[in-house]
Amino acid sequence: MIILNALGILFWMILIPFCIGFLPIRIIPTGLRKPIFIYITGFIITLAALELTGIPTELIFVYNAYRKFVIVFGAVLILLAVFGVISLRAFLTASSQKLNCTSVKSLLRPEKTSLKSQISSMSLESKIYMLISLLLIASQIVMLFLVYSRDADDSFYNAQATSAQVFGTMYRIDAGTGYTTNLDYRHCFALFPMYQAFISSASGVHLLIVAHKIVPIVLIPITYYLLYNFGSVLFPKKQEAAWLFVILINVFKLFGGISHYTAETFFLLRTWQGKSFAGNFILPGIIFIFLYMKNKSDGTVENNAKSKSVNKFELLALAFLVLAAGSASSIAVLISVGLVGLLSLIFLVINRDWKAFFREIATIIPGILYMLLYLICTVVG
């Protein structure tokens, strides 16, 4: 049984998002075509799909909305994963390659050298910094099993998820008491708890193990991977500096618990909550996309073959990040939209590129629609 549970988790949380990540393979910049980045791309698309399937389901169906959601969301994910593999195959065929392990491996290795040879070509200093960074990240994962946190919000989010599993409805049960209530418009758009409920239902693992252990095991490494990418862009061709940056970021995250309000406190105290994911991944993700996109057009990133061209992947990534923020909370969408707007304006002032500005601003449209729907529902509902 445990083996089946583990396979279920690996299938829905790792394999499916990984396959979905190949959907935009044609437009992913060569430098970003790496396994973890493909996975992150798929994970963000998964969260966007969560919003696009979950919100209509819970608004339309009063009874059994969760049960319908599990079927619809599961089917959509499988469909997206299949299209992801088709997209990968078409991409490989276009370059006269067949879809097999060797061709995928070579595609996901933009440096054209194996991981082993990449590591052996690193300086001793880089290797030591990398080892310290990985140990620090591993220690945060180990801590998930040594301590647990009692957070008041869990009694709402996790109980909403278990209530959905037990009663089959979505956000129509009072999380505190278990009695039925009107659709909770304030929270029902933030479907991150329902994603965890889905993983739990699909794998047969208790929701609390999914939320408190499995989801953080995924979120902590991908957050640091994003931060490592910041280091790579900020210190091009300087591996020592990039890894030193990751160590310091680790120390900052570990000792950033200066108040209850910092993103760092949320990161380790309630990793599994949508608001923590928004503060520690979505918002830095938006900043990274802008940095990567604009640094590229400055010609300072290695892969600048497409510089000054339309950054299709980066723009799509912004739109999907804003939509994925909706799974965290309505305020996360507001902040994400604000962040994209501010960065677009700052770069407009710097570069005077109106075309780029309009393209970037267009990426907030999904967020604006989300907020409009939220406002209509909360006012009317």
Binding site: R150, G178, T265
Partner: protein, 270 residues
Amino acid sequence: MAESFSECLKALKNFTGLKLLLGITLISWIYLFIKEKRKAVRAVLVFLPLVVMLIFLCPFSKTLFDALGQEGDIYYRFLWMIPFGIITSFGIVRFAGNSRVKRIIALLVSSLIIIFSGSLVYSNAAFFKSQNLYGIPKETIDIVDYIKSVDDHERMTILPSSDIIASVRQYDANMMMPYGRDFFDAPYGYVNAVFDAYENPQREMKPIVFGNLVEATRNADVEYIVMHIAVLNDGKFEEAGLELLANIDDHLIFRDPVISEKVADYVMHD
């Protein structure tokens, strides 16, 4: 307007926790402001934080945010747009430059400064030693599992003690409760007869009056009452009609036979 500005300052003060950690970020930011020349990097790590901070401290922003009717004081989350950790780390590593010795010194000195000016997240009082994979108190699991073992109904209404109330429905949503954990944060004026009979005496360090409690729990169809042994006092639960089932992890589990009968009748006629 002045009031809104002072609220913004207060939110910022609370955010910093009056620790020096964000002072290091400020020093790093000033260094980047002077030294960093790449346009894109300046935009995201120098101009963005400046603009966000100015907007955050603008009283009009706070007024507008309040008008949106967001619950609770979550205005501070706008500060998450500033990548504090990235600015701090980037400034330090950039300052260390290309010299290996400088990098090693920077790593040691800056790590120590961050450690001493910050606060280890794991030192937060909300952390407890892990007792199971579920990430909730062991007592919750033992108590809920026990109640389910003595009752063959799918759902039951229980009144948990305050130490486990937050985690009962996270573990098993089949457990119905007369009030949730949120009731402990509810503004004055919220009324719940069971809460008044069970929690108010504990808050006022008075003994629980079982007669009052059972009267309230019967009206709410509560079948099981979970009470920490420390708050039992000299309560005469038998006179009130309760049946003591067990002591699980220093929590007494009472059953109300009147409600059990009512539930059995209901299930039979359903």
